[in-house]
């Protein structure tokens, strides 16, 4: 359990100074969304060639080690296997290939399973490329900025971003504190590691109660400190760092536009 806590990293940002790292976060977020949509437009395997090229180019430019990309795929391995498995066995039609027990495998099934599996992989690689090359702070800034136009329909853009920032700020603090409380309770004989699930959950109480109390105290003090520093919500607020769309961003937009163009065109290809 102790080890588990240490392995939680906030986001998975890998600092860098490459073309992709330095793109405006707003542009990166929007382009990522467009990338995801284009994945779902594709109807043929041939479309994936261009997706693959696009991703390879991005990974190459961002200098992110491939091992990180594969690491990002690990958590979805179960979903991936499930998707592929279900599609292989439960897709009707096509020519009969083989059977495992009562389950039949058809050519349509294999085709669809591969198609869905690849789509899932590309989806994860694409989005983790966003989080690997954008710091959580820049992401927050970008999201706040993109949501600002929706303020007029009552979306609390600034408040959401503030919540995210404070969460990011306090995660390390609270993790450290959890660790401290755990050690203190273990020194008094608390046991967090043995017993069945119910027992383990019960054993967490002496950890969670002090943690919650302290978190509320922190929240209270932080609120006072923010008020003392003239915080009054998003009203009339400026920002130290202004987001700016530069030539770099236009190049990225151009590349993505070409990708989308090819993919739409791909729908009319015979193969």
């Amino acid at each position: 359990m102790l080890i588990m806590l240490k392995n939680i990293t906030i986001g998975q940002y890998i600092p860098g100074n490459t073309f992709i790292h330095r793109l405006d976060p707003r542009v990166k977020i929007i382009l990522s969304i467009i990338f995801i949509i284009s994945l779902f437009i594709i109807t043929k395997f041939s479309g994936y060639i261009f997706i693959l090229l696009f991703l390879l180019l991005s990974v190459f430019v961002s200098k992110i080690p491939l091992s990180y990309i594969f690491k990002g795929l690990k958590p979805i391995l179960v979903i991936l296997i499930l998707t592929v498995g279900l599609n292989v066995f439960f897709t009707p039609g096509g020519t009969y290939l083989a059977s495992i027990g009562p389950l039949k495998i058809t050519s349509n099934g294999v085709r669809l399973a591969l198609f869905m599996g690849l789509r899932l992989i590309f989806l994860i690689v694409g989005t983790s490329l966003l989080t690997l090359t954008t710091s959580p702070i820049a992401l927050t800034d970008g999201i706040e900025n993109l949501l600002t136009p929706f303020k007029s329909i009552g979306l609390p853009a600034h408040e959401l971003a503030m919540m995210m920032t404070i969460a990011l700020r306090f995660i390390p603090t609270l993790l450290e504190e959890t660790d401290k409380i755990m050690k203190a309770q273990m020194a008094r004989g608390a046991d967090f590691e043995s017993g069945n699930l119910v027992k383990r959950a019960k054993n967490l109480i002496p950890l969670l109660v002090p943690l919650f109390i302290s978190a509320f105290r922190r929240a209270d003090e932080l609120a006072v400190a923010m008020e003392a520093r003239c915080y009054r919500g998003g009203f009339n607020r400026t920002k130290l760092k202004q987001l700016k769309v530069s030539n770099r961003d236009y190049i990225a937009i151009l590349f993505t536009a070409i990708l989308v163009g090819i993919i739409i065109w791909n729908r009319f290809w015979p193969w």
Binding site: T165, R169, T238
Partner: protein, 281 residues
């Protein structure tokens, strides 16, 4: 010289929500004037009302009775609220619970951002403030990578970036190790001397109070003693009765005097003590 802070018969009672009979007067008719540019220390035992008083200087609390004026502005006048909070900045005890942003320089920018200042000027103010507390090279660090003393200096920088005339520090060194304490106090002294910022330092450490121009001793919402450190700390008996310590050397001098040795009781620092002993015949 102008008065940066004035309180007129300041009385404060926390609104006890449950039972009104237990209402306790936390601040009792206080009249305090603080001159601009001074370094004032406030001491007093736990629960004597120091933090409550500090929060009145920043309009986080307003008096139940009486008035508080910051640079002539009444804290009850809500139209001056933001001016007051900008004029009198506040630093709190726990360094972890007052930093808002995930990057040092963005935290320092938090105050000016709230004031709606132009980004270019925020940049200048942030750089100035970080240099003033000697933390410029840490500007891109995450707060949780810093030591307690460094975090506290960032909190001070966050206040300086709002261009205050006065900084109120509520036990800023209570959670720090001796090294961090020294860093913070040195920073505070420098801001007072070089930048002319009025400092109000609430502390439990007498060694820190000794450094001030003026020491105010609080007891049960009232002022027990008020004067220069020399005047205040020679009242060893009164301070002891209030449950407060005096600087170690002052206590030593006090005891020597009781033993019949002819020693002035205004000795506050080790240096002064050494000088006296060397000259003693």
């Amino acid at each position: 010289m102008g008065k940066i802070i004035m309180t007129k018969d300041l009385t404060f009672v926390y609104e006890a929500e449950s039972n009104d009979s237990s209402k306790k007067i936390v601040l009792n008719s206080l009249n305090i004037d603080i001159d601009e540019g001074k370094f004032v220390a406030i001491i007093g035992h736990n629960g004597s009302g120091k933090s409550t008083l500090a929060k009145h200087f920043n309009a986080l609390l307003v008096p139940t009775e009486g008035d508080v004026y910051i640079n002539g502005m009444n804290t009850k006048d809500t139209s001056h609220l933001w001016d007051i909070r900008q004029t009198a900045g506040m630093v709190f005890q726990n360094p972890d619970n007052q930093l808002v942003a995930t990057i040092v320089e963005e935290d320092v920018a938090f105050g000016p951002e709230n004031l709606g200042i132009d980004p270019k000027e925020i940049r200048e103010r942030v750089d100035f403030a970080l240099n003033a507390v000697d933390m410029y090279k840490y500007r891109e660090f995450a707060p949780h990578m810093l030591s307690g003393g460094q975090k506290q200096r960032i909190a001070i920088a966050g206040v300086i970036a709002m261009r205050p005339q006065c900084i109120i520090l509520d036990e800023p060194t209570a959670m720090l190790d001796p090294k961090g304490r020294k860093e913070v106090i040195k920073t505070v002294q420098k801001l007072n001397k070089e930048n002319g910022i009025t400092i109000i330092l609430i502390t439990h450490f007498m060694e820190e109070a000794v450094l001030a121009d003026r020491v105010i001793v609080m007891d049960n919402g009232k002022i027990a003693l008020d004067g220069t450190p020399k005047d205040v700390f020679k009242e060893v008996k009164i301070l002891k009765d209030l449950g407060l310590d005096v600087p170690q050397v002052t206590e030593l001098a006090y005891k020597l005097k009781q033993e019949g040795i002819d020693i002035p009781t205004e000795i506050l620092t080790v240096d002064e003590m050494v000088r006296f002993i060397c000259q003693y015949k």
